[in-house]
């Protein structure tokens, strides 16, 4: 038996999403099992199955540094404030 992770997508809409997991003896049986467990009511028309032991899981600490990079964003507030100041100065 292998554990497979199940990903579904509706054609033309959104991205593939993780739906859950299942145990199956091989890839062909995993497809049958996924169809009957996760898409009984057409929750997706595209199906990806990935064996869990083939999934590369990055360490949380490796991912974390990019949560603290404010200089990679610009929310527009500083620009809006300058525009407003300029507008008021010219009135």
């Amino acid at each position: 038996m292998h554990t497979y992770e199940v990903f579904l997508k509706k054609d033309g809409r959104d991205e593939f999403r993780h739906a859950g997991a299942l145990d199956a003896a091989n890839d062909a049986l995993a497809e049958v099992h996924a169809r009957e467990t996760y898409i009984r009511r057409a929750e997706g028309d595209r199906l990806w199955l990935v064996r869990r032991d083939h999934v590369i899981v990055a360490d949380v600490d490796f991912v974390a540094p990019n949560a603290d990079k404010p200089h990679r964003h610009h929310d527009g507030a500083a620009v809006a404030a300058r525009r407003k100041a300029n507008r008021e100065a010219s009135e």
């Binding site: 859950g20 003896a25 009984r40």
Partner: protein, 301 residues
């Protein structure tokens, strides 16, 4: 634990491979395992009714519902197994050995089609209300995500139950009496599914698994189903039932919790037969699992 509880109070979500206190892991696992067991036991009962269900329309809905319930069992056993407390086969072995719990309502026998209707109408509604209260604010991410799909399917089941109830309520006197007998048998077990009043130090509430107290959910169910059953001309099997004019609330009177305690100790009216049947079913299908193991050993994945 203090830091972990602060994290949970702040809306923190726990994932399967995160560090978590052992008490939390065990409590959440036990809760999901009981839910998984209940879906499987419920699915097996539903399956028993496929040949006996009257009419093709109802029969097809029972087929679909059986597949849903067994499917929910699969989903939940996968989520539970990923917590690393027990494997999926261990959970099944414990269930069939009578060592683990499943919901009280599956410790009773469904004798007539009326019982199946009462179960779909009263019990599924109670189960759905409990699941929705968990889904609302569940701190364990994998459980919350899988509940979303389970709840949407349980919604179909409840509507099916109401549909069946209305058909039987609009039927002959014999049909109506059949259903009244079923209400008399299933009202209290359905109400007891919510459990006794939550304890002040309930861990599942503190750790944001449950979002509402048992008595609150139970009372909401009473306020909905008592008037609904009355409106179809059925009676409620509660001698002390009264309507409190001051609060505009129905009160079912004191609740005898002994039957619930018995089911939790596998001593319900139908516990032994149910567990034996489920266990026999597991043994009868061993050849399928063996064939699959064989296939995974010989066929390249």
């Amino acid at each position: 634990m203090d830091a972990f509880e602060t994290f949970l109070d702040g809306g923190g979500i726990v994932e399967a491979d995160d560090d978590m206190p052992d008490d939390y892991r065990r409590a959440v696992f036990a809760f999901i395992e009981m839910h998984a067991n209940s879906e499987l036991m419920g699915g097996l009962t539903e399956r028993d009714w496929i040949p006996k269900t009257p009419g093709l329309r109802h029969k097809m809905s029972v087929l679909a519902k059986t597949q849903d319930e067994i499917g929910h069992g699969h989903l939940l056993y996968m989520v539970a197994a990923a917590m690393g407390v027990k494997t999926r086969p261990q959970m099944l072995e414990d269930l069939f050995a009578g060592k683990s719990r499943f919901h009280n309502v599956f410790h009773y026998q469904a004798v007539t089609w009326g019982d199946q209707v009462a179960i779909a109408f009263l019990v599924d509604a109670a189960a759905l209300a409990s699941q929705q209260a968990v889904f609302k604010n569940c701190s364990y991410g994998p459980y919350r995500r899988i509940l979303k799909r389970i709840i949407s399917e349980e919604g179909f089941h409840m509507r099916l139950g109401e549909d069946r109830m209305m058909r039987i309520a609009e039927g002959t006197d014999v049909q109506r009496q059949l259903f009244q007998d079923s209400i008399d048998r299933w009202f209290w077990p359905a109400l007891q599914l919510f459990g006794p009043d939550s304890k002040p130090d309930d861990k599942l509430l503190r750790w944001h698994i449950k979002s509402e107290r048992n008595e609150v959910l139970r009372d909401r169910w009473v306020q909905k189903f008592v008037p609904m059953l009355h409106s179809y001309g059925f009676t409620i099997p509660a001698d002390d039932l009264f309507y409190d004019e001051a609060t505009n609330q129905w009160d079912v009177g004191p609740i005898d919790w002994e039957p619930l305690k018995k089911t939790l100790a596998q001593g319900g009216p139908d516990s032994a037969r149910r567990i034996t049947e489920a266990s026999n079913n597991w043994n009868r299908t061993a050849w399928v699992r063996e064939a699959l193991e064989q296939a995974s050993a010989t066929v390249p994945a």
